[in-house]
């Protein structure tokens, strides 16, 4: 179980969600969700399939905007600003809140170009600056040693675990404060999974991490706080230690003990 770091993070929640409802067309998928996510900690979302945890994750960086017929009510406040207000710049929101997907999706470009993508979007062209950002991000993602001789080879020629870490490096290169990870290691073998989990624990020193996972044990290993979702509702959200040893709600306990899956 991870230990709270000594350097205490700034007070106040990083992300504050209040009374969030979400509809796909006529059917409601998220019911009245409220939670506060602490900065520089790992928060995990667990729950059975189809319970809305990925949907909820995607509301945090407005990726649900890409789907037609989605309606949202309630507020998601990040660093004091409601991201669903009319004045928010979605592009800079997504730079601040990075996302790693379940199926890793590196671009069909070289490793270097993948990681440099975000900087190029910002208009950076100076190769020295790009080189430095790429090296730093790959180091952060614990991938530099493995790919430093293969920077200009296609990213798609790497192994599954390496590709996912390229995606992480790519997200880090943009300079976010929050990282959202949607089942980041579900498609990976145990060794790659272990590497990703190690990475998450290390990254939380600098970043706020929210991870959705199917794997309860992973949540137990990696996170500081855990939220249990069921059928679109937030059932319980508390310190991981408490959820897994002494949960308040009965439903939570039944899920943890494997009564339903």
């Amino acid at each position: 179980m991870p230990i709270m770091t000594e350097a205490y993070p700034p007070a106040g929640p990083k992300i504050m969600v209040e009374n969030l409802d979400l509809w796909y067309g006529p059917s409601q998928a998220l019911f009245d969700i409220s939670m506060q996510i602490k900065p520089q900690r790992v928060s995990a979302f667990i729950g059975p399939s189809g319970c809305g945890k990925s949907t909820f994750l995607r509301t945090l960086n407005r990726m649900n905007d890409l789907i037609d017929n989605v309606r949202i009510s309630g507020s998601v406040v990040i660093d004091g600003e409601d991201v669903y207000s009319g004045t928010i710049d979605v592009v800079s929101l997504r730079r601040n809140v990075g996302m790693i997907f379940q199926k890793s999706n590196p671009f069909p470009k070289s490793v270097y170009e993948n990681v440099a993508y975000g900087q190029r979007l910002l208009g950076v062209r100076d190769t020295k600056v790009l080189d430095e950002v790429v090296e730093r991000s790959l180091n952060h993602a614990a991938l530099w040693d493995e790919v430093k001789d293969r920077l200009h080879e296609p990213a798609l020629s790497l192994s599954g675990g390496q590709m996912q870490r390229v995606c992480i490096a790519r997200a880090l290169a943009v300079g976010p404060e929050i990282l959202l990870m949607d089942e980041p290691s579900s498609a990976l073998d145990p060794i790659a999974t272990a590497k990703i989990e190690e990475l998450i624990v290390e990254l939380k020193q600098k970043y706020t991490i929210v991870i959705v996972t199917h794997n309860m044990q992973q949540a137990a290993r990696v996170s500081d706080y855990t939220a249990f979702f069921y059928l679109g509702r937030l059932v319980e959200f508390d310190e991981t230690r408490k959820i897994f040893t002494n949960p308040e709600k009965k439903q939570t306990e039944e899920y943890i003990t494997g009564r339903f899956g």
Binding site: V91, L93, R94, N105, P106, P108, R120, L121
Partner: protein, 558 residues
């Protein structure tokens, strides 16, 4: 029987058989065209034939056999030949049109009395009156020298011909580039005068300014005309040198053997095919091929080369592709990435698919009405009013022809691009957006590069389709014979208002619009082969480019 149809092997054989059949048909067509076309430039032997017809008339002919066929039954009966066998007849090219009145003569095999290939027979390709066949009598070299001895005469002729050809090329150069350049500038100045008159008439400039400019231009014109006269004098003196060289040729044919005089300057090629060694034959063949590819046509497209047609075809295909591909890609992008689903998108897509099925001649009519008359007419009215009623852009030209064909091929590009865009996994777009890219940046940096191989497929298909269409071109700017190319060394280099020649139309013209179809049928095949080769080269280069791009942008790890 049921077992036979459910068993998979039958269908493997069936589908394989049909594929084989298709390939055989394509290869067969190519072999047919090649075998007819490739042999066309071979130097044929010159035969000397004496024949006696049923009525007792004697026929003396000297020429090259261009075709052989079976004599039809009715003719065998009518002429009284042995009806139990097949008989052949030969199409002999006898040339000397100005003497015999016709280029070709049929000779029936049963009527032939004697047939030989005289070693000294000479075949001549001329700039006027087509071919000539005969025996060399003498060569006049300048007013003093006459070479009579036939052995020396041929060698003397060869060197004289070389000299004359060199001079002719020089004259041609002077006429084309220098005099041509002067002419071009004179024409521009005269146009400027017309514009000035027009402007002063409309009150756009005042009479003083008009007067000043006109005087200046008139001075320039005088200077140019002086230079023009000088060049003309030079050319004339050179031409006078050429006049002294004349070849005398003795003909063989009924009713008597005449001798004709041929100025050496009008001889393109003279050869003795019955004496040629293999090396000489290969050299002859090579020079004919080179002439075919690089020279202008002669004799109403029946002789000479097809270079202007090659140039026109390639330039038109390139302009068409440059217009159609961006147009099609942008349209496909809109349909796929930006348009919200709904009836509008579906209607547009149905319209695009149906556009691909419209007959090409309809596109030609549209091109004529819209591009030539409406757009071209408006351009003329706005920018070239001083030349009216003589149209600049208001008539057919390479620009309108290329645009019409671009419209024809745009649906192909749209469909191919849409397929390519649809094949890009959604995760890639999401990944880019999650990094803070806008939709357009995602399209530009991730989607379009990955779709490039598919877009190239669309471009290849469009080029192949467009290069083969002839009907819409006939209405929008192709001509039988164009005196200038649409691209030359005078600014603005690309003259998109000029009419042009096209290989497809050339095939139609040579094969069906000339007077001497039998003569030209070989050339039709050769031109067809050339067109196929050009399309093949265009497609191959695009395919190679696409293969390179595929390895660069491959979507999977393999």
């Amino acid at each position: 029987m049921k077992r036979l149809t459910t068993h998979g092997d039958v269908f493997i054989w069936l589908t394989g058989a049909f594929l084989g059949l298709s390939i055989i048909m394509i290869v067969g067509m190519l072999v047919l065209i090649a075998s007819n076309g490739i042999g066309y430039f071979n130097p044929r032997a010159i035969e000397q034939i004496t024949a006696v017809t049923k009525g007792g008339d004697t026929l003396n002919v000297l020429g090259q056999v261009y075709a052989t066929e079976d004599i039809p039954r009715e003719v065998i009966m009518a002429e009284g030949f042995d009806a139990s066998k097949e008989h052949l007849r030969y199409l002999l090219r006898i040339g000397n049109r100005e003497v015999f009145g016709q280029d070709f003569q049929w000779v029936n095999e049963p009527e032939i009395m004697s047939r030989k290939e005289p070693a000294d027979a000479v075949g001549i390709e001329r700039r006027e009156y087509g071919h000539a066949y005969g025996f060399m009598e003498s060569l006049q070299q300048g007013p003093q020298r006459l070479i009579d001895n036939s052995v020396d005469a041929w060698d003397a002729f060869r060197s004289a011909h070389g000299y004359v050809t060199g001079l002719s090329d020089r004259i041609y150069d002077i006429e084309k580039s220098q005099i041509g350049g002067l002419n071009y500038r004179l024409e521009k100045l005269r146009k400027r005068l017309r514009t000035l008159d027009y402007q002063v008439g409309r009150g756009e400039i005042d009479t003083d300014e008009h007067g000043r400019e006109v005087t200046q231009i008139r001075n320039e014109i005088d200077g140019l005309e002086l230079a023009f006269t000088n060049q003309q004098v030079q050319v004339d003196s050179l031409k006078a040198l050429l006049d002294g060289y004349v070849l005398r040729l003795r003909l063989f044919g009924s009713p008597s053997d005449e001798t004709i005089e041929i100025p050496v300057a009008s001889i393109v090629r003279a050869y003795k095919p019955n004496l040629m060694t293999t090396v000489e034959r290969v050299a002859f063949y090579g020079s004919k091929i080179w002439e075919f590819l690089s020279a202008d046509p002669r004799e109403a497209n029946a002789e000479g080369g097809v270079f202007p047609a090659i140039f026109g075809t390639v330039m038109m295909v390139l302009i068409m592709t440059v217009v159609a591909v961006p147009f099609g890609v942008l349209a496909a992008l809109y349909l796929r990435e930006y348009a919200v689903g709904g009836p509008m998108v579906r209607i547009v897509r149905i319209a695009v698919n149906n556009l691909a099925g419209v007959p090409s001649i309809v596109f030609g009519m549209f091109g004529l009405g819209f591009f030539v008359y409406f757009v071209g007419g408006s351009i003329d009215a706005l920018f070239y009013p001083e030349h009216l009623p003589s149209p600049t852009y208001g008539t057919g030209g390479i620009l309108w022809a290329s645009l019409t064909l671009a419209l024809l091929t745009v649906p192909v590009v749209i469909v191919a691009t849409e397929e390519a865009l649809a094949a890009i996994p959604r995760g890639m777009r999401e990944g880019s957006l999650a990094l803070g890219a806008t939709k357009w940046e995602t399209v530009r940096r991730v989607v379009l590069p990955s779709a490039t191989p598919g877009i190239m497929t669309g471009a290849i298909l469009a080029m192949a389709r467009g290069a083969g269409e002839v009907a819409p071109l006939m209405i929008t700017g192709v001509v039988k014979l164009a005196t200038e190319l649409p691209f030359d060394s005078h600014f603005p280099f690309f003259h998109l208002d000029r009419k042009f020649m096209h290989l497809g139309f050339h095939i139609y013209d040579v094969g069906f619009q000339t007077s001497n179809v039998e003569a030209n049928i070989g050339m039709v095949y050769t031109t067809t082969l050339l067109l196929l080769l050009i399309i093949l080269v265009l497609n191959l280069s695009a395919i190679i480019l696409r293969a390179r791009l595929r390895t660069k942008y491959r979507l999977s790890g393999f």
